[in-house]
């Protein structure tokens, strides 16, 4: 195949007609598909992946001293309503938590980036900070996100904006509404798949509909899953982790960043399990003694309790605005300042 042969015999296709047919077909099929999936309740939605995360991370670079950065795992991502907190402090808030992951690689990334000068609020989830197994497995995910963010060209960032623009407006761009997801379901059950149990917003706030989540979504169900992955650090291991966290926190404070460590509430069987395997004096207490930061534990603030969902671990989505207001009050009492303007 050589390009020069493109112009040789036989006659050239009638390109105007060719493209008219192609565009008509695309309009009919894609337009029809959009109507079909919207009719089934599969509206447009964002995907909580490295693209959305990297976009938020880039926005943070421009925010300066006023920025409030939220770090952690799913518990943090599903607990804070970014707009509510932003309004409360008059400061831009960036949700950089990543579901099912340790915050440590990103914590270090913020410390070494000279553009980060605001406030960092870190959620300490025992499963990831005090627990050997999960923290080792899941540091990988944040590293992958950071690698993607670090390698982004200006061109890729522009392309990313377009991707996000389309994702927020077209239902067929949502993974759950793609033929690859819909057709097998249609063949298998004869019905269109229902809407996803997770709704993701542009600012990375996540709402969960617990009635739609497959599997046992009670606190007992989550606790039994949790139990399979519990492997608390030994004293010596945790000492190393604490030293590392203390070093990073000191680096951040040195450049004027205020650091908050927050232990978000859990409930029922999950709270019992956390209390049993990660006792205050062996973990949270050690962190508090050795790291120069402000600490907020839900046990010290009764107003933070009582809004956890049926799974015992994550905030009830219908109450995250309320929880964010309460947590913001607690943080304000702990000297988290309003914005400069």
């Amino acid at each position: 195949m050589t390009s020069s042969t493109l112009n040789s015999d036989p006659a050239e296709p009638r390109w105007a007609y060719v493209w008219a047919v192609a565009i008509l077909l695309v309009a009919v099929v894609v337009g029809g598909w959009e109507l079909l999936v919207r009719g089934a309740g599969l509206g447009p939605g964002y995907v909580d992946n490295k693209v959305l995360w990297a976009d938020t991370r880039h926005q943070l670079n421009e925010a300066g001293r006023d920025a409030i950065v939220l770090l952690g795992a799913s518990r943090m991502q599903r607990a804070i309503d970014v707009d509510t907190m932003s309004d409360r402090f008059g400061r831009p808030v960036f949700q950089l938590s990543i579901e099912g992951s340790s915050y440590l690689p990103l914590f270090e990334n913020l410390a070494v980036d000279p553009r980060i000068t605001g406030t960092v609020v870190v959620s300490i989830a025992p499963a990831f900070t005090f627990n050997r197994l999960l923290s080792q497995i899941d540091e990988g995910r944040q590293s992958l996100y950071l690698e993607y963010y670090g390698n982004q060209s200006h061109a890729r960032r522009l392309e990313q904006q377009l991707t996000l623009f389309l994702q927020g407006r077209l239902a067929f761009r949502a993974p759950g509404a793609a033929p690859a997801a819909v057709v097998p379901e249609l063949i298998g059950s004869g019905e269109m798949p229902g809407r996803d149990y997770k709704t993701i917003f542009r600012n990375r706030v996540v709402h969960m509909d617990h009635d739609l989540i497959p599997g046992d979504q009670t606190d007992r169900g989550l606790a039994s899953h949790y139990l399979r992955n519990v492997q608390p650090y030994t004293e010596a291991e945790f000492e190393r982790v604490v030293n590392y966290i203390a070093t990073i926190a000191a680096m951040l404070r040195q450049k004027g960043v205020d650091v908050y460590f927050v232990r978000l509430p859990s409930a029922g069987a999950v709270r019992s399990l956390e209390n049993e395997f990660f006792p205050w004096e062996q973990f949270w207490g050690v962190l508090l003694q050795n790291v120069d930061a402000t600490f907020v534990h839900f046990a010290d603030y009764p107003e933070l309790d009582g809004l956890v969902s049926q799974d015992g671990s994550h905030m009830d989505s219908s109450r995250i605005v309320e929880f964010t207001e309460r947590l913001s009050d607690v943080l304000a009492r702990n000297r988290l300042q309003p914005g400069s303007e």
């Binding site: 195949m1 050589t2 390009s3 020069s4 042969t5 493109l6 112009n7 040789s8 015999d9 036989p10 006659a11 050239e12 296709p13 009638r14 390109w15 105007a16 007609y17 060719v18 493209w19 008219a20 047919v21 192609a22 565009i23 008509l24 077909l25 695309v26 099929v29 894609v30 598909w33 995907v47 992946n49 490295k50 693209v51 060209s153 200006h154 061109a155 522009l158 377009l162 991707t163 994702q167 067929f172 761009r173 949502a174 993974p175 793609a178 033929p179 690859a180």
Partner: protein, 463 residues
């Protein structure tokens, strides 16, 4: 795409040819700078060096002439060596020193690999070599030469152009043809379909799943992962190359095809005439022939072949795995030559069935070498090869859907390559009725739009 639409609109303005070429050059620099602006300087160093060297070569004689060629080669290979192989060399030097009992501390400097450096240094350097060999005369316009080195559709991952082929297209203004635009857009759609739907949507998830757990992969997993990557790398790289041809075509330029149905190759020399054609031709013309080619006896021919493939492997990346991959292809080429020498006269090998069997053998062996190309380290590659030899083990990482997808796509790919083996894409497409072409392109566009998979860079952007 928005960038390309802008360039296309600018190129269509009723301006002088010189102004339109200047616009294209500026657009190419903007395109490159969008990745990392400071590295634009490297592109300029390469361009200016070869522009200057070629002009001096023509007016010099004797040793001076050769010195200017050496300057071009040193500058281009120096850039490539520092940015691509600096870390690798230092790391291996440190290991050697440690082995000899003397300590050497690695500097720890994180050298970023400039996008497309392996492609544009080769392209720029070939100009000086061609002028030195008297194959072409140096151009009169630095604008034309700079555009040849930096032409954005193929700047970052080829096809690698030759000055004699491309610069002559820059001399006179093109008469714009509507057909070029029709073809160009069609090729872009085909390339995007290969990349987004086939490579990224169907094959990459299977490959990633299996290579992530290479230690636990069963025999079936390993074979599925290996074949899946064989398909992924073709669709990924061919997709990019076809898009490059299409973009150039929309602007009224010809860029050579990089892949000529390679999985229908019969033998490894045939494979390299069909796979990454512009790189293999470059290695043949500027390395293999410079080493003596096949002019110095059979033994030396084998050495030259092996050395060319070894360096060709290293060109792909600073890793011993790429060296091993190149060595494997060198060995396969030598074995093929020996087989041709001793068995070439056997009548069986002339039969159509034997050719098909040899073609399938070539495909399987080439696919097996891709493990070295894809594996993150030698241990993972060894684990996968070991798993492939295991007769049992069921499926662990992959599932039946993966098996069906991979072998379905591969069967279609092989069928297409054998059908197209001696056909030209343009001619084959033109024989179809226009409504069918419209339906095919429309179906491809629909598949692209309805594939909201994860974004992945083109594999060859890393080289």
């Amino acid at each position: 795409m928005l960038f390309f639409a802008g360039v296309l609109a600018m190129h269509a303005l009723p301006l002088q040819w010189h102004a339109r070429k200047t616009n294209l050059l500026l657009a190419s620099y903007v395109f490159y700078a969008a990745w990392n602006p400071p590295f634009l300087a490297l592109l300029w160093i390469s361009t200016l060096t070869d522009w200057f060297a070629a002009r001096r070569i023509v007016i010099s004689s004797g040793r001076k002439r050769t010195l200017y060629l050496v300057l071009s080669i040193l500058v281009n290979l120096g850039l490539l060596g520092y940015f691509k192989y600096g870390g690798f060399l230092e790391e291996n030097f440190a290991k050697l020193m440690a082995w000899m009992g003397s300590g050497y501390e690695i500097s720890g400097s994180d050298i970023i690999l400039p996008l497309g450096i392996s492609f544009y240094t080769f392209q720029s350097m070939s100009y000086s070599i061609d002028v030195y060999r008297g194959k072409i005369k140096p151009g009169d316009s630095i604008l034309d030469f700079a555009l040849y080195v930096s032409f954005f559709p193929q700047l970052v991952a080829g096809p690698i152009l030759r000055a004699g082929y491309f610069m002559q297209q820059l001399v006179e203004a093109h008469r714009r043809r509507a057909d070029d635009f029709g073809w160009g857009i069609a090729l872009i759609v085909v390339g995007l379909f290969e990349k987004i739907v086939l490579a990224d949507g169907l094959l990459a998830p299977v490959v990633e799943k299996i290579y992530a757990v290479s230690g636990d992969a069963t025999g079936i997993d390993a074979w599925v992962g290996t074949f899946a990557f064989g398909g992924q790398i073709f669709f990924d790289f061919n997709g990019y190359s076809v898009i490059a041809v299409g973009l150039a075509k929309c602007l009224g330029f010809q860029v050579p095809w990089n892949f000529l149905s390679p999985y229908a190759a019969i033998g490894f020399s045939d494979f390299w005439r069909r796979w990454h054609v512009t790189l293999s031709a470059w290695l043949r013309d500027y390395l293999y022939i410079s080493l003596g080619g096949n002019r110095l006896g059979r033994a030396r021919t084998y050495v030259n072949l092996a050395l060319t493939m070894l360096l060709g492997g290293l060109w792909h990346g600073a890793s011993w795995l790429f060296v091993l991959w190149g060595a494997a292809h060198g060995a396969l080429l030598v074995i093929e030559r020996l087989a041709r020498h001793f068995l070439g006269g056997v009548a069986f090998f002339q039969r159509p069935l034997a050719k098909v069997l040899l073609g399938l053998l070539t495909f399987v062996l080439v696919t097996l070498t891709w493990v070295l190309f894809r594996a993150p380290d030698l241990d993972s590659a060894t684990q996968l090869y070991a798993a492939m030899l295991m007769p049992v083990g069921g499926i662990n990482a992959a599932d039946l859907r993966d098996v069906a997808v991979v072998f379905g796509v591969l069967a279609a790919l092989l069928g297409t390559h054998w059908f197209m083996r001696n056909r030209e894409f343009g001619s084959a497409l033109k024989r179809l009725p226009w409504p069918l072409i419209g339906l095919i392109l429309g179906a491809m566009l629909i598949a692209i739009l309805l594939s909201p998979g994860e974004e992945r860079d083109f594999i060859y952007f890393e080289f």
